[in-house]
């Protein structure tokens, strides 16, 4: 109980660390959450655009309306750096300038060059197909009056290729869940490991250690108590994250089989994180080294395993390197759970393989930890 009370006191002093990483988790997921949650049909991705209509004709209005219908248009002041910033930081993918005389030229069947600002992302490519489709169709009716072209174009554009979603899953909701649980890799490896290390290292200080060595309490019992405290902290943190997930992702997704598998995945990663933190406090005595290692592991693994950047952006040799990290298998499982529909042996095979790698790494850390602990226990 003494160990627990002391542990709790240290955790209370550093509770802000856990709060901070939790805030990051919620904000990150909120910013990256998918629209159209609960949607079981095809929902077209809406790239973000900005439209500046200098023409004001019937046709330019129809084009602007068409773009607004198919994209997420943003009102961004065109003066200053705001527009460049928005393109640079990918807040806007595509900016369309409809020049004066656009409608007139189209009506006459003349070429009308459209000025755009594109950040060359997939979103900008998508925006371009939307703009060019409207203009191509409109031009095909020329020569004709602007009003007629506008109405004929709008009528023809109502025809779209029918799309059927093969899956019956709430893919948008699961995509948000994937973001949330992927970012949890960072929150757990930084926040939880940080909190555990801080609390545990308090018992490893030279003076405290000396006092413990001369006390009647065995080194093994202290270690066991600390392990229990660490587990309680981990369970508490995981519970908070799961409850927050209910708000960020939605209960229907969390309580689906896929959602529950993501929760299970996070539990397995948390067990790994607890063993990692415990080993770290046994191996590293200096605080600076501890902080640097935690940051390198949490940020580094999150970057190269595809938390902060999509995995397809990561080069092959880095992906090969990432295979040595349990985070890779945790994130791969989240990716699988986001689309998994059949829960048979064939489909669950890769999942079980990923679980076994993380569990194997945890067991390895526990073995190393017990060797180090025994060695340190003998040192007294």
């Amino acid at each position: 109980m003494t160990t627990f009370k002391t542990y709790l006191r240290i955790v209370q002093k550093n509770i802000w660390i856990i709060i901070m990483y939790t805030v990051m988790l919620v904000l990150f997921s909120a910013v990256n959450s998918s629209t159209g949650r609960g949607q079981m049909d095809f929902a077209a991705t809406k790239p973000s655009t900005a439209v500046y209509d200098y023409d004001g004709s019937n046709l330019s209005n129809a084009l602007a309306d068409y773009v607004k219908e198919h994209t997420e248009t943003k009102e961004i002041p065109k003066d200053g750096d705001t527009l460049s910033d928005a393109l640079y930081y990918s807040d806007v993918d595509y900016v369309i300038y409809i020049e004066k005389g656009f409608g007139e030229k189209i009506a006459k069947g003349e070429d009308s060059e459209i000025e755009v600002k594109s950040n060359n992302s997939y979103g900008s490519y998508l925006s371009e197909t939307i703009v060019s489709r409207f203009v191509k169709v409109a031009k095909s009716f020329a020569p004709m009056s602007e009003t007629e072209i506008a109405s004929k174009t709008s009528a023809l554009l109502k025809n779209e290729t029918k799309v059927e979603l093969n899956t019956k899953l709430d893919t948008s909701g699961l995509s948000t869940a994937e973001f949330y649980y992927n970012f949890m890799n960072y929150s757990i490896l930084a926040g939880l490991v940080f909190a555990i290390s801080y609390a545990t290292i308090g018992f490893r200080r030279r003076m405290v250690k000396k006092r413990l060595n001369v006390s009647s309490t065995s080194y093994r019992k202290i270690n066991r108590d600390l392990m229990i405290c660490n587990s309680i902290l981990a369970i508490a943190m995981l519970t908070i994250y799961t409850i927050l997930g209910l708000f960020v992702i939605g209960p229907s997704v969390i309580f689906s089989t896929n959602g529950l598998l993501m929760v299970l995945n996070s539990i397995i990663l948390t067990i790994f994180a607890v063993s990692f933190a415990f080993l770290l406090t046994n191996l590293v005595e200096k605080n600076n080294a501890l902080l640097a290692i935690i940051n390198i592991v949490s940020i580094g693994s999150s970057f190269i395993c595809g938390v902060f950047v999509p995995m397809e952006w990561v080069p092959d040799f880095v992906v090969s390197l990432a295979h040595f990290l349990p985070s890779f298998y945790y994130i791969d499982n989240n990716r699988i759970f986001a689309t998994l529909e059949k829960f048979d042996g064939e489909h669950l095979g890769p999942v079980l393989f990923n679980f076994s790698i993380i569990i194997g790494a945890t067991i390895l850390l526990i073995i190393i930890n017990s060797i180090v602990s025994r060695k340190k226990g003998n040192e007294k």
Binding site: A44, T45, V135, I296, I299, I304
Partner: protein, 356 residues
């Protein structure tokens, strides 16, 4: 000068602090570099793979086949077996399946999940359908892109890492100042009862920390420029200058943490790291769009966030030159450093202890 030399010697004797403070950003930027070395290729469009299922009874399939040959934006292949193709779709080897009904029915697109690539395929398919429906061949549209991204997306990450390195240097400042504080170290107690000017000691500690930080950042720059070969363009001197200002903000932060928080050394390190990571998060380290979201929703937050000021300074300098925006960032950074330094001095002044 002599005091400065000895202080530097003491600081560099703390090998663990020096190694990790210097090595941490170097290791991290190397990982960033590795993770982002493919980012330009990722930005380039690659045609989505789709499979069209053959149907002899479809009258539109031959028309589509002819059109597909001319469309570079789609990578279309033809298969007979729907079930096998569906498995490919479920494994996400392909983006979609196009099925043709009998006679003149327009094809249907089957996808596994919603997404950008799937929407692109649907858009292209729609355009083909519209062309067939209207019975006209659409002319190409002239589109002129007047925006040129002169920097890769990865630069945002490098900027935020430089900002992090500047603020992380606060740890050196905290450690150095803690040595002079009577409530923190034994040497601080000795200094408190000695006849030496405390102001001088504190000043020397701060100068030592700043020099140490600059040495660490110089090593980071050498790594960035000569090993990773990251190009900052013609504004490199400005980037280095801004980093020196950033180091000053880091030093001020370290001083503030040391003076304002009467907690153990470990906790001070935790506060510095936590604050730095939070600042970096809001400045876009974990996702560039976060900075723009904060800039749009809570602009004041990033005006007092040293990491965001630094990343914005680097960005504006390398994109628009040393204009008003860059200098505003520099001034705000200096104001941040000045304000928290004044608060630190206020806290540190006339500290007396009855017992320790």
């Amino acid at each position: 000068m002599k005091r400065l030399f000895y202080n530097l010697k003491i600081t560099f004797k703390n090998k663990e602090l020096i190694f990790w403070t210097f090595a941490f950003p170097i290791i991290l930027i190397t990982l960033f570099y590795a993770a982002f070395s493919n980012i330009t290729a990722a930005d380039n469009y690659t045609a989505p793979k789709i499979v069209a299922i053959e149907n002899e009874n479809s009258k539109l399939l031959p028309v589509y086949k002819q059109i597909f040959e001319k469309v570079d934006a789609l990578d279309v292949s033809f298969e007979n077996n729907f079930d096998e193709t569906k498995q490919k779709l479920e494994k996400e080897d392909i983006i979609g399946i196009i099925t043709f009904e009998d006679d003149m029915s327009f094809p249907k697109l089957i996808i596994e999940k919603n997404g950008t690539s799937q929407t692109i395929v649907q858009n292209i398919m729609t355009e083909i359908e519209l062309s067939i429906r209207s019975g006209k061949q659409f002319d190409e549209v002239k589109i002129k892109n007047t925006y040129e991204r002169n920097q890769e997306m990865a630069m945002i990450e490098y900027f935020s890492l430089l900002a992090m390195a500047c603020l992380y240097g606060a740890m050196i400042g905290t450690k150095s100042l803690d040595k002079s504080l009577a409530n923190m170290t034994a040497s601080g107690k000795r200094i408190a009862v000695s006849a030496i000017s405390k102001a001088k000691i504190v000043l020397v500690s701060l100068v030592t920390s700043y020099i140490t930080q600059l040495i660490g950042l110089a090593l980071l720059f050498l790594h960035i420029l000569f090993i990773l070969k990251i190009d900052f363009g013609p504004e490199l001197p400005g980037v280095i200058g801004l980093t020196a200002v950033g180091a000053l903000a880091g030093l001020a932060l370290g001083t503030f943490v040391s003076a304002a928080f009467r907690v153990k050394e470990d906790t001070k390190d935790g506060i510095t790291t936590g604050f730095t990571m939070l600042c970096c998060f809001f400045s876009g380290m974990m996702g560039p769009s976060m900075k723009f979201v904060i800039d749009s929703a809570v602009p004041f937050l990033n005006k007092i966030n040293p990491a965001a000021l630094l990343t914005d300074g680097y960005y504006s300098l390398t994109n628009f030159g040393a204009g008003e925006r860059f200098w505003t960032d520099v001034i705000l950074l200096l104001v941040f450093s000045g304000v928290i330094s004044i608060i630190s001095v206020k806290i540190l002044r006339r500290q007396k202890y009855d017992n320790l």
